[in-house]
């Protein structure tokens, strides 16, 4: 998993959401939000064009998530980028098809691992775990949290607040805002809350509107995908 990139900010423009660029040791890493590939691609090109001076001569790695890209599409992007004097050197993808395409075009498909800080001996009882962001405050209306990892909130998520997570979202408090787990298509993502009364829940590409009006009994609930549908059930330990 790539290092997580976390922002807490007020609502931003659609373009920001579609394309994120950050510096890594080997150059720049581009990640994408949701949307059609053609849209994301134009957003990336437009973004680079806007700041042509900054990007000139840059080396780009792009993480295309689940998009399935053929040689024509990747070739097109590489040409367009080189017109802007930007070189494409790596394509990271969850799709084997895209990986193969990238390899055919002579592009890298893996980022070098960051230098390990210490070499941990991993036995069967030692778990590595996954990256999560901890937010120890109430997210009020207008707050927005987006991250590629998981999210844990200790506090409330009020109506009008939004959380976008690549992984799962756990709210130790009342969830009354909007949460999208698995933004990059992770269907294993879940959403848990001590009290579940959201405006809307999304997991991967599914959307669920939770019935309002009658107050739900306040018990811990978990939302997850089952057969492509979001289901919400009381959380019970087994």
């Amino acid at each position: 998993m790539a290092p997580s990139d976390t922002k807490v900010s007020s609502p931003s423009t659609a373009a920001d959401r579609r394309v994120q660029i950050k510096g890594i040791r080997e150059g720049l890493l581009v990640t994408f939000g949701e949307g059609e590939w053609s849209d994301l691609q134009s957003a990336l090109l437009a973004h680079i064009q806007e700041q042509a001076v900054f990007f000139k001569g840059a080396r780009l790695a792009i993480d295309v998530g689940n998009h399935v890209l053929r040689a024509a599409e990747l070739g097109y992007l590489r040409d367009k980028l080189s017109d802007l004097e930007v070189s494409l050197w790596a394509v990271i993808s969850n799709s084997p098809v895209t990986e193969r395409t990238a390899q055919v075009l002579g592009l890298a498909t893996r980022l070098p691992l960051p230098r390990p800080e210490r070499v941990a001996r991993r036995g069967e009882t030692e778990l590595e775990g996954e990256n999560a962001v901890l937010v120890q405050r109430t997210l009020r209306s207008g707050y927005r949290l987006s991250t590629r990892g998981h999210v844990v909130v200790i506090g409330e998520v009020n109506p009008g607040a939004e959380i976008y997570a690549g992984g799962s979202v756990v709210v130790w408090g009342r969830l009354r805002g909007t949460v999208h787990a698995g933004i990059e298509g992770n269907t294993q993502a879940v959403i848990c809350a001590l009290e579940m009364a959201p405006v809307q829940l999304r997991i991967a590409d599914q959307v669920a509107v939770v019935q309002t009006g009658k107050r739900r009994k306040s018990e811990p609930m978990m939302a997850r995908l089952e057969n492509g549908q979001i289901i919400l059930e009381p959380w019970k330990h087994k």
């Binding site: 009020r140 207008g142 009020n158 109506p159």
Partner: protein
């Protein structure tokens, strides 16, 4: 004397910011405090109308900021309460005529001379609101027991927290006990549970507010109005007094419990 700067704001328009500013100012002045109100709603001024001082405006806030008059000259003195002053907004300019640092400078100049500076913020979260927030030592968020007003109040509180202003105190305005009892209106419990800030006043819906607003006679001057009484209580709480909340006959809700809590402290109101 070092004044406390109190900004009255709400996010949503029409919830009673200006009425609250006028009445709390009047109530504080009636308690012998020296009070200056500043109307920060440039371009849409109306605090002067509510206070009944419209016909005495010569200079306004923008004149002060742009150096066309001295601060003293723009301070209109109330006839009823000699320790109450108003600095009106300009009607013909827009919010960009004043900056947050202008407001801070202006308040710093006033701080040594008065006890309270009350700033009436415009609706919204843009420049005008930022102007009003900049010098604040305390923020009074006014809301109504309606979902949309509460949502905006939450947004405002979030911004105030992010800017590290505050403390925030909540005024629940225009509460209708009959609707609340029937469950047709949010009750104070629901609002406080969501907003999680300290309550400083509950003001009942009261038609005398409309009448007095139109007359330019703030309702807090009227001893018989229930809304007027509620505003007087807010002023006393600002002064540090512990005053029980009005009993609005709210069934078994929050108010009744509070009333019960405070019953030993004497009659309500």
């Amino acid at each position: 004397m070092v004044a406390k700067v109190v900004t009255v704001t709400s996010g949503k328009g029409g919830v009673g910011k200006t009425t609250t500013t006028a009445n709390v100012a009047v109530a504080l002045a009636a308690l012998g405090q020296k009070v200056v109100c500043i109307d920060a709603d440039i371009g849409l001024r109306n605090l002067d109308v509510v206070l009944g001082l419209e016909n005495r405006i010569v200079y306004d806030l923008v004149d002060v900021v742009e150096g066309r008059c001295r601060l003293r000259q723009a301070m209109i003195r109330d006839k009823r309460l000699p320790e109450l002053y108003l600095i009106p907004a300009a009607q013909t300019r827009d919010k960009n005529a004043v900056s947050p640092s202008d407001m801070s400078r202006l308040c710093d100049e006033l701080r040594q001379e008065v006890d309270w500076i009350l700033i009436d913020s415009p609706a919204g979260i843009e420049r005008g609101f930022r102007n009003a927030l900049a010098p604040a030592d305390m923020v009074l968020v006014v809301t109504n027991p309606e979902v949309s007003a509460v949502r905006d109040a939450d947004r405002i509180i979030g911004i105030v927290e992010a800017e590290e202003k505050g403390p925030v105190r909540l005024i629940l305005n225009r509460v209708n006990p009959t609707l609340t009892r029937r469950g047709d209106m949010l009750n104070a419990d629901d609002v406080l549970e969501l907003l999680a800030v300290e309550l400083i006043g509950i003001v009942p819906e009261d038609e005398s507010v409309i009448i007095s607003t139109n007359k330019g006679q703030p309702v807090a001057l009227d001893g018989k109005s229930r809304a007027g009484l509620a505003f007087q209580n807010i002023a006393r709480r600002l002064m540090g007094e512990s005053v029980p909340f009005l009993n609005l006959d709210d069934g078994d809700g929050f108010l009744k419990r509070l009333t019960r809590l405070f019953r030993s402290g004497g009659s309500t109101g």
